[in-house]
Symmetry: none
C-alpha cells in the first residue's frame, strides 16, 4: 500500500490522465509505479559515459534493454527518438526530453530547448521532459522557456516531467545540490510551476553547511524523502539514481522513496553501465521493490 495520490486525485486534464495511465498502469508492473530509463547522457556528458559498457553507446541496445527490463518509459533526446523509436513505437512509452546541454562550457546552468511538445506528439510520446535548474543565476531565462513548454504541454494534453535540479554557486554555498534543503525546494518549485511529475535526487539531510535554519535539525533519510514527497504534493515524484553507486545503497534509497509515497524511479547509468545480464538482474531487484507499492 502507498500514500501517493491516485491519478484521478491530481487535477489532471483528460489527455494527461490518459497518457499517465498508459505509463503507470499499462506498462512495467502495471500497478501505478514506474521505473524510467533515462538515456540523454550522450548529450549531457558525452560518450565518456559509455566507456564502462560500450554496448550502451548504441541507442538500439538501450531501448531494447528498456523493453526487456519492463521499464515504464525511455527518456531520450529528439535525435535518437527520430531515428530509433520507430523500431519500438508503442512497445515502450517514449518520454521526449525537450532540452539538454553539453557539459563543456562553464556558464550559468541553463538547459536549452531543442525540441517541441509537438515533436513529442508527432512521435507518439507519452510524456515530455524538461530540466529546470533551480537556483541558477539564469533563472529568468529558464522560467521563460519553461513557461512556453508548460503551456504547449497543457494544450496538447502531454504530461510534463520536470528534472528539477538545484544548481549554481548559491546552491553550492547552501549545502550543495543534493542537500535536503535543495532537493525539497526543487520538488516544491516543480509543483508551484505546474509539473505533472518531478524527478529529484535523493535528499541528504546530513549536508547542512549553509542551509537555512529549519533544515539544520536532525532528520533521517526517511524523514527527508517523506518531506520532499509532501512538498511535491500533487506532482508525482521520481527519484533519480544519479551517478552509479553501490547496489545496496541504491536499493535502500529506492525502498525509502517508495515507502515515502514516491511514484517510482528513474535510473540510467546505474542500469546500462553494467553488462546486459547484470543490468537486468539489478532492474529485477528494483522491480521487486516497486511491486510492494501498488496503487
Amino acid at each position: 500500500m502507498t500514500t501517493r495520490p491516485a491519478l484521478d486525485e491530481l487535477g489532471l486534464a483528460t489527455g494527461k490522465k490518459a497518457r499517465l495511465h498508459r505509463i503507470l498502469h499499462r506498462h512495467g508492473l502495471c500497478n501505478g509505479t514506474a521505473i524510467f530509463l533515462p538515456y540523454d547522457q550522450g548529450l549531457e556528458h558525452g560518450p565518456r559515459d559509455f566507456f564502462a559498457n560500450p554496448a550502451a553507446s548504441d541507442p538500439k541496445y538501450v531501448i531494447s534493454l528498456a523493453l526487456e527490463g519492463g521499464f515504464n518509459g525511455i527518456a531520450i533526446q529528439i535525435g535518437l527518438a527520430e531515428k530509433f523509436y520507430w523500431d519500438f513505437a508503442g512497445e515502450v512509452p517514449l518520454v521526449l526530453k525537450l532540452n539538454g546541454k553539453t557539459d563543456i562550457p562553464a556558464i550559468d546552468p541553463l538547459s536549452p530547448v531543442n525540441a517541441t511538445v509537438r515533436d513529442a506528439v508527432r512521435l507518439g510520446a507519452d510524456a515530455v521532459g524538461y530540466t529546470l535548474y533551480v537556483g541558477s543565476p539564469a533563472q529568468e531565462h529558464d522560467f521563460r522557456q519553461y513557461l512556453a513548454i508548460r503551456d504547449e504541454a497543457r494544450e496538447l494534453g502531454m504530461p510534463l516531467i520536470v528534472w528539477s535540479y538545484p544548481r549554481g554557486p548559491a546552491v553550492d554555498a547552501k549545502g550543495g545540490k543534493d542537500s535536503f534543503y535543495a532537493v525539497d525546494y526543487a520538488a516544491r518549485t516543480a509543483s508551484e510551476l505546474g509539473a505533472d511529475v518531478v524527478k529529484v535526487n535523493f535528499p541528504h539531510p546530513e549536508k547542512q553547511d549553509g542551509v537555512p535554519a529549519p533544515y539544520q535539525g536532525k532528520f533521517s533519510s526517511q524523514q527527508a524523502i517523506e518531506a520532499v514527497v509532501r512538498s511535491a504534493n500533487r506532482t508525482l515524484l521520481l527519484v533519480s539514481g544519479g551517478e552509479r553507486a553501490g547496489d545496496a545503497a541504491m536499493l535502500e534509497k529506492a525502498r525509502q522513496s517508495m515507502e515515502a509515497g514516491a511514484t517510482g524511479l528513474i535510473f540510467g547509468r546505474n542500469v546500462w553501465q553494467r553488462d546486459h545480464d547484470e543490468s537486468l538482474r539489478f532492474v529485477g531487484q528494483l522491480r521487486d521493490i516497486l511491486a510492494k507499492y501498488p496503487s
Copy 2:
C-alpha cells in the same frame, strides 16, 4: 494466421505506428486485430436508437461496456469525449470522430467537421475518425475538408480512420450503398486519399442493378470482401456492423472479413442495442473469431 500486413509494413510514420500499436497490440486481444465500439448514433440518428435499450442512452454505460467487452477503442464525438472520457482515460483507446451530422435535413450527403485533430491529441486519443461520403454530389467540399484533417493528422502522428460510405443519388442508382461495386470503390478511395484505416460495410456482390460491368459477374461474399481488402492495400480495413441484424449472419460476415485479411470489426448498434449481458455474450463470439487471426 492472416494475410494482412504487419504494422511495420505499412509505411507508417513513428507516431501513427506507436498509436496503432497501442490499439492493436496492447488492447483487446493484443494480437493485431481490433474491435471498435462506435457510439456516434446519438448525433447521426438521434436518441431514437436508444429506445431499444434505454441504458445505452448513457455514454458512461456504453464506454463501460467497451471496457468490459475488451474493445480496442470507442469512437465518439467531441462532446461525449470531453465530458465522459476522463473517467476512463487510457483504459480504452479513444477514437475521436471529427465530423458528424444529424439525419434531419434532406441535403447532399456531407458530414461537417465539429472537432480537430488537436482536440484528439489534447484528449489523449489514439486515432481520429472521418466520415467520407463517396459518391456524394458534395464530393468537392468533402475532399477539401478531408484534406485539412489528413494533413493535421499527419503532422501530429495521429492515425486516421475513414468511415468510407458510398452515398447519394448516383450511388443509389448504381447498386446501392452496400453493393460490392460501391464498397470496393469506397475502400480504394480511402486508400488513395491516405487513410490509415478504413471502415466499410460488408459488400453485397448480389446487388448488381446498375453497377459497372466488371461487378456484374458472379462473386461469393468471400471473394468480394477479399477484393475489398486488396483495394484497401496498406490501409487497414474494418468491417462495420451497420444496423442491427441476425447474429448468425453477423458472425459469418465477421469470419469472412477476418479470413480475407481485415484487421477487425466496428460494431455499435449490434452490441449496445441489447441488454448488458447479451451485449457481452455477442462480443465474446466476435472475439472468438478475432482470436483466430493473430498477426
Copy 3:
C-alpha cells in the same frame, strides 16, 4: 432533492466549473438551480416584442428587472452588453449571446456570429450563448461556426450554453419544432457537440405527425421531459419559456422540468412583457418551484 448531476460530476475544466458555480451557487437561489432572463428579442424579432410593455424596450429596465427578480443571469447581445452591463457589472451574471439574426429574410435557418468568446471574457461574462438550428439545411455552416466557438470557449474556460432549436422544412415535416422527437434530438445534439448547458423548448409528445416510429407511442409530458434530460446527459438543461402563454401552464411546465432533473428555466417574454410588478410576481412563483429542487 433532484436527480441532476452536481457540477463536479460533469467533466468540467476549472474555469467552466468556476463560472458555472458562480451562476448556480452564488446568484439567484444559490441552490444549484437557475433562472435566466433572455433579452435578445430586439434582434431576433425586432421592437415589436416590446409593444406589450414599452418599458421593456429599455435595456436598463430589463437588466434591473433581472437584479430585482434574483435571476441567475441575463442573456444579451454584444451591443447591449457594451453599453449597459457596466452599470451592473458583477451584480448579475452576463451571458453574452454570440450569434443572432433578424427574422426578416426567408433563408435557411442559420444564426450568424456577431461577437467572440474574447468579447465575453473582456466584459466579465460568466457564459456565452450560441443558437444552433438542429435540422437546418444550413447544418454544415452552422456546425463549422459552432466549432470555432466551442474551441475558443474551451480555451478560455467559458461555459457554453447552446440554444438548441429544431428548425427547417424537414423539422416542420416531422412533427414540428417542439415535438418530443425534435426536442429530444436537439438536446442530444447539443450534448454530442460539447455544450455545457442546453436550452430547449418543452417537448410536446402529442405532436406525432411524421415523427420516427419510436416517438409515436404514448408518452406523458413528464415522460418526455425526463427523456430529454437523459438525452442531454452531462449537459445541464434549461427549459425555455418561449412565447408568452398562460401562467398556470407555464408553471406546470416549469415544475415538470425541474422534477425531471432540469437545472432551470430561461424565461424572457413571459417575464418582461408584463408590467413591472406583475413580472416580479410571476418570477416569484417560478422561484418557489426552483426552491424545491436544490442540489
Copy 4:
C-alpha cells in the same frame, strides 16, 4: 465609513469592474473591503516557510482555510492553481500570480513570468498578480515584461494586482524597503503604470537614513499610510502582512490602513503559520476591523 473610492469611480472597464465587484462585494464581508491569502511562499522562499505549521505545506489545507476564513481571494502560482483550484472553483476567488522566483540565486531583483493572463482567464480567476521590484537595477526588464501583462489584462478585462516591492541596493541605501519613502514611491509607481490594485508593505516613517529630504520630517504611521493611499489614487491599496510578527502590532497596522482608505489586507504567513484554530481566530480579528470600513 471610508474615504476610499467606489468601484464606479475608478475608470474601470466593464470586465475589470465585474471581477472586482465579485471579489469585493460578493465574497468576504461583501462590503467593499478585502482580505487576501497569498500562498506563493513555497516558490519564493521554499518549503522552509511551512516548518512552523507543516499542515500549511498542503495547498488543499490552505485554500480550505481561505474558504473557512471568509477570504476574498487566494493568490497562488499556476502549478497549484492547475492542480488544486478545481476543487474550490468559484467558491473563493482566484488571484493567479503570474511571476515568481526562488530566493536562491543572488541576482538583480526580477520576478520572471511563468504564466499568462490567458491562463488566469482559462482557470476562472478574478484577478492576476504581478511582482514589480521598484528600484531594481533590472527595472528595464521588469517594466517590459510588466507591459505585456498589463496589456493582456486590459484586453481580457482582468484586474491586475501589483505586488509593488522596493528592492535593490539603491533602495537599501535610501532607507530600506519599508521606509515611508520607498513604500510611497512604490504605491505611486504602480498607479502610474496602470495597476488596478497595489499591494504594499506598511510604511515606516522612522526609517530615514538616506531618504530624500521631504521624507525626513516627522510623520506618524497614520500620516504615512494616508499619504501612501493618496499616492495610489485610483489604484486600490492592499497592505501586506509580511513576515509573521506580533498580533497587536499587526492589528494596529490593519486598523490604520483601513482608516487611511486602504481597500484591505493581504496576509499569508501571519495567518497560515499558526495552527488551524489560531489562524481563524486571528482572521476573525482582522475581519472585525474590515467590517468597520464598508463602502
Copy 5:
C-alpha cells in the same frame, strides 16, 4: 510673427498633421503655439515632488488645472491615462508618455517602455511622448526601443514628441546636461531620428567645461536657443521648464524661446508646485508670451 515653419511645411503625413492641427490650432491659444503640462513626475521622481503642493498628488486636480489654464495638452503615463483621462476625454489633448522610470537604481540612463502607440490610439491621444537619453551608455538599447515606437507612431499617424535629454557620465564630463553643446546635440538627434516634436531644456552657453571647441565661443542665450531651433529644423521645438525656478527667469527663457522660433513650452513643476491660483496666474503670463507668436 514667427520664423517657425507652418504645419504644412513639415512633411507630415495626414494623421500626424490632423492631430498636431488639433493640438496647435484648436486648443490653447489656437494660434499655432502650445503649452503642455507634463505630469509624469510621480513615476520619475516619486511622490516627493507633490509635497510642495499636496493637491497636485491627485491626477484629477492636475488635469483640471490643464483645462482651466488653457493648456494644449497633458502628458501622462498609461496608468493615469487609463484611470483619469475618461473624465476629460477630448476636452484637453492627451500626450501619452510611452516610457518612464523611477530614479532609484543607479544604472545607465534608459527609460523603459511601459505603453504602446496603440494604447495612445485606443485612449484618443493626440500625441505620444518618448524620453531619449542622448549620450547614455545605454544608447544602443534606447535607439532600438525608440525605433519600434517611431515606426508604430508612423503606421498609426500619431505625432511623436521626444523628450531629448542629454544624460550620462560623458555628458557630465562635457559641460553637463544643459550646456548649449548638449542641448543643441539633443535637438539635432531628435530631428535625425524622426521626432515630430522635440522637448529640450533651455541651453546654457556659459557652461563650457569640456565642451567641444566650437561651443567654447561667446554666445548669448538668444543665440543659443536660435541655434537649437535651427538644429531641430522641421521638428517642432518645445522648451522645458525643468525644476521650479524664479518666475522672472522662467518668463525670459520662454520669451527668448518663442522669439527663436520654438513652438511652445512644456512646464510642469513650475506650474503645479504652486497653489491653484498662483498656478493659473503664472500660466497666464506664459500665455501672454505665446500670444505674441502666432503662425
